[in-house]
């Protein structure tokens, strides 16, 4: 526990330093990011140690002055897994932030950024290690607020404000309406806020409570994780946040939703089969719709945000199979499902962080994230292109990188579930396999589009000039890229790490988890063998190619110079003749138009000598425009009806004044309007008067009610002492 406490202390020091060194922002940036790097590496090493030794740490307990809960930190397998992910990604993002933010050091409040960065990281660590409900909620809220301020870094821009507000509102709706009632139910059941007492609080016979808790957890934690249709804040907040923040948001902040959901699952006995099936459907919908929306995007970061939604769907598939395996009493399927989901959590953090950093480097270099204006960046920023390619191959789940490994395990668990007949006698896992395959194919389409249009070909907008990627960014990306490759090529080293967490989730004893993991370890080691075969094949072919070229050079065959791409008879091919991102994805978007509902605005060329024409395509998010916007508009209309007086103290909105013209305004109405108007005008004497009046009213009620209290005094007092006794 000491490393965690040390890193928390370091982050506190970092936050204060960033506020102290406000005058020298560049120095503050370097120092604070160094502190953040050290803190995250400490935390990651500690977590790795816990996983390797397969032993939990803690609990570490300190009393605090709040009336409810204590500071209780403990690291079990689940916490350690997420802690390791947070540590590794935060370390790389810290290295990345230095060159990214130092360009903006004079103009933007970089020290505020550093302070909130430290706060975000500290709240993430507390959240993941918390073993107490109140501490968990405090960490949750601190993380939300810190992330809000980080997302709103460029708050002068309107779309940034909108994205930040959407994030805040979405998270708070999820927390207030679903997460808090969840914890309230658990607190009411057990009487304490300690997580250790939550485990086993609800029996497996109590089906209603189990399903309610599952639904609350899915809605509340699912809003944070970005399951459809609660994902609407993701594509709004990710593109407008600074790149290090986007990487952290996508990499770890949405994973805390997954962590909360998994923590809930670890307290509950095996849930009814229908819960796993619902989660499977949620995963399928999130995955397929997420990648379809990603296909239709024009902005690089928004595309990556929708891919986060898709990958959360894949993680949900893994968790759902784990739940189905638990419900059907098949520990092999359960362990594999949870293991695949957890591995995908880390893999996604790694390759999504890499992709966001690469997109940030593109933004930094070219000034725009609009895919259709970029092109040919592979020749100007070759290292960045290689990094994006590694991230793209990893996110499509292609061997030999890490995305394939976690998807392979999830496929294995789904196929196992189908063979054993779990979930609509095996049909639902079969459908999930087809959906996962479709997601993989569509992701391939999307990333060939993104990589091909941004980095390959010719630049589509000649007015953009490209700057080189700074070395710090390259180093951070290279670390993540290397880890993607290593995890993919050497899966045998990584799979045993997940067995502690998977065993805890599947409620399976340690020895049996070992045995189940062994069954997937042997084929995984064969995967390394296949990677070796692949590398041998590639090098063999390259060697043959070199040999052929050498032989041609020796026999003096004339070497033709490189020429422009053949334009099939056009004498002057231009860069504008290339396929744009929209045209590349058009076939797929049209095929799936009944799911996407794309919009087209076209001013077609007309006449024999047509002038300028215009085509605009959009794929507006159905959940945002057709589900949530009408709900919020309805709420807004409700509030407008309640509002009686406008800001300047004038009498009423148009509706009210209409009725005022027709009917007589009686004395009560005039009095109420006058009071509300006086409150809005904000004179301090009126407000003091209102406070006094409210206090008088309260004392009056207190004075009246002891008459009732005295009759039942004995009963109430003993109740009171009983509660006090339980607390101590």
């Amino acid at each position: 526990m000491t490393p965690v406490l040390t890193s928390l202390a370091l982050l506190a020091i970092g936050a204060t330093m960033s506020l102290v060194l406000v005058r020298v922002p560049r120095l503050a940036l370097v120092i604070v990011m160094l502190i953040v790097f050290v803190a995250s590496v400490l935390v990651a090493i500690n977590a790795g140690d816990v996983l390797l030794r397969a032993s939990s740490r803690g609990p570490y307990e300190v009393a605090w002055p709040l009336s409810l809960g204590t500071v209780r930190l403990s690291i079990d397998g689940l916490s350690a897994w997420f802690l390791m992910t947070i540590g590794v990604l935060a370390a790389c993002v810290a290295v990345y932030s230095v060159p990214h933010m130092s360009a903006a050091a004079g103009r933007e409040p970089v020290c505020v950024f550093c302070a909130f960065f430290c706060l975000l990281l500290a709240s993430l660590i507390i959240l993941v290690c918390a073993a107490d409900a109140v501490l968990f909620l405090i960490g949750w809220e601190a993380m939300t607020l810190a992330a809000f301020f980080l997302v709103a870094f460029h708050h002068e821009r309107r779309d940034v404000r909108r994205g930040a507000w959407m994030y805040l509102v979405a998270t708070h709706i999820g927390t207030a309406l679903f997460v808090l009632p969840l914890f309230a139910i658990m607190f009411a059941r057990t009487g304490t806020t300690a997580f250790s007492s939550f485990a086993g609080a609800v029996g497996s016979g109590d089906r209603t409570t189990l399903v309610t808790l599952f639904a609350l957890g899915l809605a509340g934690f699912g809003t944070k994780a970005g399951f459809m249709p609660m994902h609407v804040w993701l594509p709004a907040a990710h593109p407008v946040a600074p790149t290090p923040v986007s990487a952290l948001l996508s990499g770890v902040v949405v994973k805390t939703g997954i962590y909360g959901f998994l923590r809930l699952l670890s307290w509950l006995p095996p849930l009814p089969l229908v819960c796993g099936e619902v989660l499977l459907l949620v995963g399928i919908v999130s995955g397929v719709m997420g990648v379809l929306y990603a296909l239709a995007q024009h902005d690089l970061k928004r595309l990556l945000a929708y891919h986060t939604v898709e990958n959360m769907g894949i993680i949900a598939l893994g968790i759902a199979v784990g739940m189905l395996g638990e419900a059907a009493n098949q520990p092999a399927v359960a362990v594999l499902g949870y293991a695949g989901a957890l591995l995908h959590v880390t893999n996604h953090a790694l390759f999504k962080g890499l992709l966001f950093m690469s997109a940030g480097a593109v933004l930094h270099g070219s000034g725009t994230g609009e895919i259709d204006r970029l092109g040919g960046l592979a020749r100007k920023t070759p290292v960045n292109a290689v990094m994006f390619l590694i991230g793209a191959v990893a996110i499509c789940g292609l061997p030999p990188l890490n995305g394939f490994l976690s998807e392979w395990i999830i496929y294995g668990s789904l196929l196992g579930g189908s063979i054993l007949g779990i979930g609509v006698s095996g049909g639902l896992p079969g459908v999930a396999v087809a959906a996962l395959a479709l997601m993989g194919g569509l992701a391939l389409a999307c990333f060939t589009k993104a990589f091909g249009v941004v980095f390959l070909g010719e630049p589509r907008d000649a007015s953009l000039c490209t700057r080189k990627t700074p070395a710090g960014m390259k180093i951070a990306m290279a670390v993540l890229g290397l880890s993607c490759i290593l995890i993919g090529v050497l899966p045998g080293l990584w799979i045993p790490l997940v067995q502690l967490a998977a065993g805890e989730l599947a409620n399976v004893p340690h020895g049996e988890v070992n045995m189940r993991i062994e069954t997937v370890l042997a084929p995984a080691i064969k995967l390394s063998g296949m990677a070796v075969v692949f590398v041998v094949a590639v090098s063999g072919l390259i060697a043959i190619r070199r040999l052929v070229r050498l032989r041609a050079a020796c026999s003096n065959v004339e070497v033709t110079p490189t020429v422009a791409t053949w334009g099939c008879g056009y004498t002057r091919p231009t860069p504008r003749m290339q396929y744009t991102a929209s045209s590349f994805a058009a076939h797929l978007v049209t095929t799936f138009r009944s799911l996407l509902w794309p919009e087209r605005a076209i001013l077609a060329p007309s006449g024999s000598f047509p002038g300028a024409s215009h085509l605009e395509t959009h794929a507006p998010d159905i959940a945002e425009h057709d589900v949530f916007e009408p709900i919020f508009r309805g709420v807004d209309r409700l509030y407008s009806a309640v509002r009686a007086v406008s800001w300047r103290g004038e009498q009423g909105s148009p509706v009210v004044s209409e009725s005022a013209a027709l009917h007589r305004r009686g004395p009560i109405r005039t009095l109420i309007d006058g009071m509300v108007g006086a409150l809005r005008r904000g004179s301090i004497q009126v407000r003091l008067l209102f406070i006094v009046l409210t206090l008088v009213a309260m004392f009056a009620i207190e004075a009246i009610s002891p008459v009732d209290r005295a009759h039942s005094a004995t009963g109430q007092d003993s109740q009171h002492t009983l509660d006090v006794g339980a607390d101590k």
């Binding site: 040919g376 020749r379 070759p382 390619l389 499509c396 789940g397 292609l398 394939f404 998807e407 392979w408 294995g412 196929l415 189908s418 063979i419 007949g421 006698s425 095996g426 049909g427 896992p429 079969g430 459908v431 396999v433 087809a434 395959a437 479709l438 194919g441 391939l444 389409a445 060939t448 990589f451 091909g452 249009v453 390959l456 070909g457 010719e458 084929p523 995967l527 296949m530 075969v533 692949f534 094949a537 590639v538 072919l541 052929v548 041609a552 065959v557 004339e558 490189t562 020429v563 422009a564 791409t565 053949w566 099939c568 396929y579 045209s583 590349f584 058009a586 076939h587 797929l588 095929t591």
Partner: protein, 311 residues
């Protein structure tokens, strides 16, 4: 691995790697026969590859290292996939549980790099081919994977050589109609992945009708030899899966099994040649419907196999 297997390892690998262009000439000869022609010589594909290796490659200024790496990586992924598919015998060279997923994703890796090499040229032709290829590739994946699910449930194994091996004989007896539907779906996937009529016409070079041909329009010389051979190898691999699923042998002796499998692969090539000669190419809007139809076939097969198991 028995002693016989170890002895036959090297000749088997050599035959498997050398025979795919022969399958291409079977298709060409069939189409020629339908057209009343004699057709090219039987060894023409080998002559073509030999000619291409000796030619010089012309590169475009727009291309980067990805253009040169694309054909190499796609051929390497196909060679890696060859170790997973049982072609001449009932056992693959390097199989393991879950290798069927690796096979499908290796093919996807090849597709990704072919598409990226096409986008690298900055030409609208290659972009068009790339766009069509990723569309049809994405839509054929569910059909392929649903077929895998059906075969996995029927054979209770996750190893490709066990899914389509002798253990499928009881599977045929128990769930015959399901396996027929799966073979039909796999045939459609074969036509899509190897870009045959009715999805794509490999003989034409008109931009309205090409998918695979237009993606590799700019490749020349040894890279194009890689691509031509790779296409033939892909046909041999996917064809082997179809043939093994359709006609399961009973674990016979190697000297009987291997020639029989070669004949069956030749028969499949003949069938593809017949399909190419009697069908016209579908309009591009209709191809997603064909692929959705294949997915539905696999889904019906899945329902049959699951019902059979519970009943």
């Amino acid at each position: 691995m028995t002693v016989l297997r170890a002895i036959l390892f090297v000749p088997e690998v050599l035959v498997v790697l050398a025979s795919p262009p022969l399958l291409m000439s079977v298709i060409a000869k069939t189409k020629a026969w339908f057209g009343g022609r004699v057709g090219p010589p039987w060894l023409q594909p080998y002559f073509d590859i030999h000619k291409l290796i000796q030619k010089n490659a012309v590169y475009s200024k727009t291309t980067t290292w990805i253009f040169r790496a694309g054909p190499i990586i796609s051929l390497a992924s196909l060679l890696t996939a060859t170790t997973l598919v049982p072609v001449l015998s009932d056992d693959s060279l390097l199989g393991f549980p879950g290798d069927v997923i690796l096979l499908a994703y290796l093919l996807a890796l090849g597709r990704m790099f072919t598409v990226l090499a096409a986008m690298d040229t900055g030409s609208s032709f290659e972009g068009m081919g790339a766009s069509r290829e990723v569309t049809f590739g994405a839509m054929s994946e569910p059909a392929l994977f649903l077929s895998f699910v059906v075969m996995a449930v029927a054979s209770k194994s996750l190893r490709l050589s066990e899914m389509i091996g002798p253990s499928l004989i009881p599977g045929w007896q128990v769930a015959g109609p399901a396996v027929i539907l799966v073979v039909g779906a796999l045939l459609v996937v074969l036509l899509t992945e190897t870009c045959r009529v009715p999805v794509d016409d490999p003989a034409t070079h008109l931009e309205l009708t090409m998918i695979h041909e237009v993606m590799v329009l700019d490749h020349s010389g040894p890279e194009f030899a890689c691509i031509t051979y790779g296409a033939a190898l892909k046909f041999a691999l996917l064809g082997s899966i179809v043939v093994h699923a359709a006609i399961p042998h009973g674990g016979w002796l190697a000297w009987l099994n291997a020639p029989l499998r070669m004949l069956e692969l030749g028969g499949l090539a003949l069938l593809i040649g017949i399909i190419e000669s009697v069908t016209a190419r579908f309009r591009l809007n209709r191809v997603p419907m064909l692929l959705a139809g294949a997915t539905v076939l696999s889904a019906i097969a899945l329902v049959l196999v699951l019902m059979r198991r519970t009943v």
